[in-house]
């Protein structure tokens, strides 16, 4: 951020505005404070019978790695609508979204990742514009060493464990910059 998006001034400052308690970008010319807040990434676990739909990323970051359909939540939609939209955009599949399942804090990259349980309405899927491949995977077929993000691998591991037990409690976890020794992924 180099210019004030409100008045165009190039004198933007990054320090604690008057009456605030943390540094922000703000404009001494017009007084506008440019708040920046965490973004929500929302996704689904699209299930068809005993298989799970994954897609291969055609774009950075983590190009050529596999992921659950997920992406930035957009203005004007609900979490569930975002999860369904991403599944449609990335894997051309229609899902019924059910329970909120995993929530991850990623404070070092200013993000929250959220995944929903979901069921595909039929077996149809395809390769969306931001994907280079897509497929339905049995648990034994999941490419664990080619998964794009730790929030995806943890969500898949929880899901497979919980499916055996038949209970899907909400999972809320922190993922920080420094991996915790001994913790998978």
């Amino acid at each position: 951020m180099k210019f004030c998006s409100h008045c165009g001034s190039d004198a933007l400052r990054f320090d604690v505005p008057e009456g605030d308690n943390r540094p922000r970008y703000w404009c001494p010319a017009c007084g506008t404070v440019h708040y920046q807040n965490p973004k929500v990434v929302v996704g689904a676990i699209p299930v068809w019978e005993d298989r799970i739909l994954l897609c291969k990323r055609a774009i950075q970051p983590r190009k050529d790695y596999w992921t659950l359909p997920a992406g930035y939540m957009e203005n004007g939609e609900t979490l569930q609508e975002g999860a369904a939209r991403e599944t449609w955009e990335e894997a051309c599949a229609t899902v019924n979204i059910s329970d909120l399942y995993t929530v991850f804090n990623l404070p070092h990259i200013w993000q929250i990742h959220v995944f929903f349980l979901s069921t595909m309405v039929d077996e149809r899927y395809g390769v969306g514009e931001e994907s280079s491949d897509a497929g339905l995977f049995l648990p034994s077929e999941i490419p664990w060493d080619q998964l794009a993000f730790p929030t995806v691998s943890r969500t898949l591991r929880y899901f497979l464990d919980d499916r055996v037990r038949g209970e899907f409690p909400l999972r809320l976890q922190d993922i920080t910059a420094k991996p915790i020794a001994g913790l998978r992924d």
Copy 2:
């Protein structure tokens, strides 16, 4: 948004950028797309024995109405850290944050509201900078007609009902611009 925060150009456009599928602010001069995404408001239900800590808002919106401590999640923190921070800033109370309890989609104002169960570590509280009053309320004392936001009143109603039952399941709800007839706040 009138000027490009990257190059200072005043030629910003608001339409669908190439390769995208929804309108955004973007700059034809330097190509920067200025994404805007929903914000997360995070709060706590601070409980001390059989009472709940509320604070009275000293600022707009909803000045002079009562609320649970809550505010915009900040970059670099977890949801739980945000809930604890807001409780400290608005009501000068220290809480132990426990389970995620309510999650509200508010798509018409581009927000998600999230509240956590929590316990005050002691009975101390105070009036934070953005509050004009604070207090511990028995269930029978809650000022229902002077609550600031529907997400606060719904969270309180759920909490009081669930406390009787001794179970606090996650509550995920949409609140839209048009109130649904017959639904209590």
